[in-house]
């Protein structure tokens, strides 16, 4: 009896060792390149590709960040990205929640059809529509404007879907009770639906911020003015012009990923839930 128990315990220990070993390998593949990038951004150029490779910078180079920053107006690029991403995020929270609320809690002619129209835009990513969308933006004289960077992305089919799914779970009785109390429809949306849908809103804002911060092909097409460039295009241009200064290029890349990293550290749970939801199927 005790012999069998202990053999089972050994087997469990063995199983766990393998599982954790595999997880460690997976985690290393994910994180080591990123750590290597961060560490290398603090190296001097001549220490960049030493054989054999050395992990820690020796000596540490504290200038690569400020040197890189001096090459181009990265502060401006960074602030541009921040402004555009926050605008797109806030717009989507409002517009997608309203649409999700309408689709979840109102009955009207053509509701299912309009839901399908919205979902159909899932198959119209920018990679497909870039040419005609550019022509429309040109028609509106929006190239080289923040408007051109923001307005086309103020609504998103996945965002509407996410908010609709979440709001479906809010009991109708709450809405009816508020109506009986004489609350206005707009009041109900802002004072009842929005607060109750907060977890979905956080997931949606992370999702939209990530997409907006990642925006690359669109500013590449419509922005030619230096002062309107987002950080992604700034990094890309830096890469094509200064490929030899690896420490500076890596420094700029590290700065470009910092906002997402900070959001992720604090709001990891919502990130993961937002993605998990896209896989939920009734």
């Amino acid at each position: 009896m005790t012999a069998r128990l202990s053999s089972r315990r050994t087997r469990n220990w063995f199983r766990n060792a393998i599982l954790y070993g595999l997880l460690l390998i997976a985690a290393s593949i994910a994180i080591v390149p990123i750590l290597w990038m961060i560490l290398s951004s603090f190296k001097y150029l001549e220490d960049m590709f030493t054989v054999p490779m050395t992990w820690l910078p020796d000596p540490w180079n504290w200038h690569s960040y400020s040197d890189a920053w001096a090459q181009r107006d990265f502060t401006r690029y960074f602030l541009n990205s921040l402004f555009v991403s926050i605008s797109i995020t806030v717009g989507n929270i409002l517009i997608c929640s309203m649409a999700g609320y309408a689709l979840a809690k109102f009955r009207f002619v053509g509701r299912q059809f309009l839901f399908l129209v919205i979902l159909s835009t899932l198959m119209l990513p920018l990679e497909v529509t870039m040419v005609p969308l550019f022509l429309i933006i040109k028609e509106l004289s929006w190239p080289n404007t923040y408007t051109g960077l923001i307005v086309p992305f103020l609504a998103d089919a996945f965002g509407v879907f996410l908010m609709r799914q979440y709001i479906l779970g809010i009991p109708d009785e709450l809405i009816e009770a508020a109506r009986i109390d004489g609350m206005s429809e707009i009041g109900i949306f802002f004072k009842i639906i929005m607060p109750l849908a907060k977890p979905a809103t956080i997931a949606l804002s992370l999702f939209m911020f990530r997409e907006a911060w990642d925006m690359y092909i669109w500013p590449l097409i419509i922005i030619t003015q230096e002062q309107l460039r987002p950080i992604t295009v700034g990094v890309a241009l830096f890469m094509s012009n200064y490929t030899t200064d690896w420490n500076q290029l890596l420094a700029v890349a590290v700065i470009a990923m910092t906002p997402m990293f900070i959001l992720f550290v604090f709001l990891q749970r919502y990130f993961v839930q937002g993605i998990a939801l896209s896989g939920l199927k009734g």
């Binding site: 040419v131 022509l135 479906l168 092909i217 896989g279 939920l280």
Partner: protein
């Protein structure tokens, strides 16, 4: 997990408000829907209709569009550069999505099979997903550096001579496929994790009574019950792979010899470097047609959830 629980409640509950909510408030339904529909109509759907129109014209931005019938499509069918880019995209999609499915499902199973440090592992493995594609391109160009970047250094440790990853046609495509696997697997791991957790424990208990082992359990219980999740992952991963742009543009600009010149990159070059809007629109229509096949499956999954029990 109350968040997911509320979502599941939303799916289980049939969205059918009573009569009182109905007619009187339907106008508000439309009003709340207007901004989203307007934005998506003007900046997604109308552009697509215009793409269809431009695909039948010759248009260089400077003189007005000129109707040319099916010329652009006929040209594309015989254009070696376009055919090669279609081939590059096809190879990229097939080469990246299949490993992504296997790895992401394996990672999900792995995460769920341990009890301690689960959050830490999931958080760390997820890191590549939060990086901008531009940053990913910088990072991997650094890792693939010839002859002494990290990838080549590690290969050197097991006795493989350095490979000029980004400058020979075969390895260049493989390089960007490996990046896709690195970045996409953690994303789909999260979706698979949610799908696996949604399978009721009772199925596994019933299986145990019938004497399943780990393999038969996975094959006869997990996989069939995971079918909707799997279908969604297949569709989403293919669409993501079809859209790839920043990485090939920044790492190889489609080269060497067109090996990584995927369709979105070729559309961009045709439209915004050569200003051939008609031809670029015809390519867009082609990409749209391919994407539509996969998207329709996704839209059906999304639009029926909440309607079915």
């Amino acid at each position: 997990m109350s968040f997911v629980a509320t979502m599941v409640a939303g799916i289980k509950r049939r969205p059918r408000p009573r009569l009182g909510l109905k007619a009187k408030h339907s106008m508000w339904g439309y009003l709340f829907l207007v901004p989203a529909v307007a934005i998506l109509l003007i900046f997604r759907i109308i552009p697509m209709i215009e793409a269809a129109y431009y695909s039948f014209t010759k248009y260089d931005l400077f003189s007005p569009p000129q109707f040319v019938g099916f010329k652009n499509y006929i040209d594309l069918a015989g254009d070696p550069v376009f055919l090669q880019s279609a081939r590059a995209s096809a190879l990229y999609v097939v080469g990246s999505v299949i490993p992504v499915w296997i790895i992401s499902l394996a990672l999900a199973k792995l995460i769920l099979s341990v009890s301690r440090f689960r959050g830490w592992f999931r958080g760390i493995i997820f890191m590549p997903v939060i990086m901008s594609m531009v940053v990913v391109a910088v990072l991997w160009r650094f890792l693939y550096y010839f002859p002494s970047g990290m990838v080549n250094t590690f290969l050197g440790m097991v006795g493989i001579p350095p490979v000029p990853w980004l400058t020979t046609p075969n390895t260049a495509l493989l390089s960007i496929i490996l990046i896709a696997i690195w970045r996409a697997s953690p994303y789909f791991m999260v979706i698979f994790t949610a799908g696996l957790q949604a399978i009721p424990e009772t199925y596994y208990e019933a299986g145990k009574i019938d004497g399943t082992n780990a393999w038969t359990e996975f094959w006869y219980i997990t996989l069939p019950l995971l079918r909707p999740t799997f279908l969604l992952v297949v569709v989403m991963s293919v669409i993501v792979a079809l859209k790839v742009f920043a990485v090939p543009q920044l790492m190889t600009n489609g080269g060497p010899a067109g090996a990584t010149n995927v369709v979105p990159l070729q559309i961009y070059k045709t439209g915004f470097e050569f200003f051939r809007m008609g031809k670029a629109s015809a390519m867009s229509m082609f990409l749209f047609a391919v994407m539509m096949v996969f998207s329709i499956i996704q839209i059906r999954l999304f639009s029926t959830s909440g309607e079915t029990e």
